[in-house]
């Protein structure tokens, strides 16, 4: 969930923004150091792809719809820091032009969505992959699911530190509602990875930054 402006207090806003901006600077430095200039258009167009994925609502049973984040998927294709970098600007632009999320809450939102989904989940997946290499797709599903669930847990935490909700009362409805989105995100990521393996395997061999 994208937290709008007005719901987080000063300490949460400053803490999360500091963390996210430092991560952003580190990501940019790493990208500038390692990225081959001919990969710039791919990086740019991938940001438009993330924006598209977030803009599309997939119909799910009982007449509702859900949108995906695709951040973990992009981290599997382009790498964790590229994924954080692109996702940060997608969040920034969607708050400016669509009103999704906020500008001062960009730190919290990019922590929940970009850092957890892009950086943390990427390294966690790589760690699990080393231990359990035989169940690759199951791991992709699990980590995708986890990226959504952890994001919702931190979202609840930030709102409760700001005094808007009680963590103990809000955590259950928040995680249950996001678990559905997490399952869909997990299936989506597996299907897309399998699709790339079948149709265009070189996409998965791009240097990860």
């Amino acid at each position: 969930m994208h937290i709008p402006d007005g719901f987080l207090d000063f300490k949460v806003v400053s803490g999360t923004n500091l963390f996210s901006f430092l991560t952003l600077i580190y990501s940019i430095k790493r990208i500038l150091k390692k990225l081959k200039p001919e990969r710039v258009p791919l990086l740019g167009i991938s940001s438009a792809f993330i924006f598209l994925i977030e803009a599309i609502s997939f119909p799910v049973p009982y007449g509702t719809s859900v949108h995906l984040s695709g951040i973990f998927l992009i981290s599997l294709i382009l790498g964790p820091f590229s994924s954080f970098f692109l996702s940060f600007f997608v969040l920034f632009l969607s708050s400016i032009i669509l009103g999704h999320g906020g500008i001062l809450t960009i730190g919290a939102n990019s922590f929940n969505i970009s850092f957890i989904g892009g950086i943390f989940c990427f390294y966690f997946y790589k760690f699990l992959e080393k231990i359990l290499p035989k169940i690759k797709y199951l791991l992709i599903f699990f980590v995708s699911f986890l990226s959504v669930l952890l994001g919702s847990i931190f979202c609840t935490l930030f709102l409760s530190i700001s005094g808007k909700i009680l963590f103990s009362k809000a955590i259950l409805p928040m995680t249950i509602s996001h678990a559905v989105a997490g399952i869909i995100e997990g299936i989506f990521t597996i299907l897309i990875i399998k699709f790339f393996e079948r149709v265009k395997p070189e996409i998965l061999k791009i240097e990860k930054i």
């Binding site: 709008p4 500038l32 167009i45 991938s46 669509l98 500008i103 299936i187 897309i192």
Partner: protein
């Protein structure tokens, strides 16, 4: 497909349209910080409501359209409202947060309505690390609409062939869009080089 571009009012000749993007962005950030620190008294909020109404009028933004766009925030507010009720939190506390949130989104949308996005992206161009940020913003803003058109075209083709897309088809569709984006990025690179873009760090 017809797109309602976000910055279409930025071409009107209004008050905010004549101000520079960087100045407006700076003022916007200052206002958002101010809302963050506003005390819980309605009197402090009234001047900002008055200012936004005046700015909307002198910048020639249709009020009905503006209010309709602000409604986008309500699904998020509803979730926080329900969680707040579950938490037995002070309702007055929630109302002030709601007010801050609506004020913030109003000023953000007013900024985006009255600013040409290309001008806005140029704010970053000459800053440290700005070149790569400018490039990403430019790609993001231009190619989103192209990818969306492509998505709609493939979806329409699927429906016209009698295949109403379900979740699996949507996934394949998204995968297709990424593959096409990958191939497009290679064509864009060739076009950029042929127009004089230098491959340099």
């Amino acid at each position: 497909m017809k797109h309602h571009f976000i910055d279409r009012f930025s071409y009107e000749k209004g008050f905010l349209q004549n101000l520079s993007s960087s100045f407006k962005f700076l003022i916007l950030i200052l206002f958002l910080f101010l809302f963050l620190l506003l005390p819980k008294k309605i009197l402090f909020y009234l001047p900002f409501i008055f200012i936004i109404l005046i700015l909307t009028f002198i910048s020639k933004i249709p009020l009905k359209y503006f209010l309709k766009r602000i409604l986008i925030i309500f699904p998020f507010l509803l979730i926080i409202f329900l969680l707040s009720i579950l938490s037995n939190k002070n309702f007055q506390n929630f109302l002030y947060s709601l007010l801050k949130s609506i004020l913030s989104i109003s000023y953000i949308l007013l900024f985006s309505f009255t600013t040409k996005m290309d001008d806005f992206f140029k704010i970053f161009e000459n800053k440290k690390y700005g070149k790569i940020i400018f490039l990403i913003f430019s790609f993001l803003y231009r190619y989103f609409f192209i990818l969306y058109d492509e998505f709609e075209r493939i979806k329409r083709a699927m429906i016209s062939k009698g295949k109403n897309p379900n979740f699996k088809e949507y996934t394949i569709l998204s995968g297709n869009i990424f593959v096409k984006s990958y191939e497009r990025s290679e064509r864009i690179l060739k076009a950029m080089i042929s127009k004089g873009w230098k491959i340099e760090k």
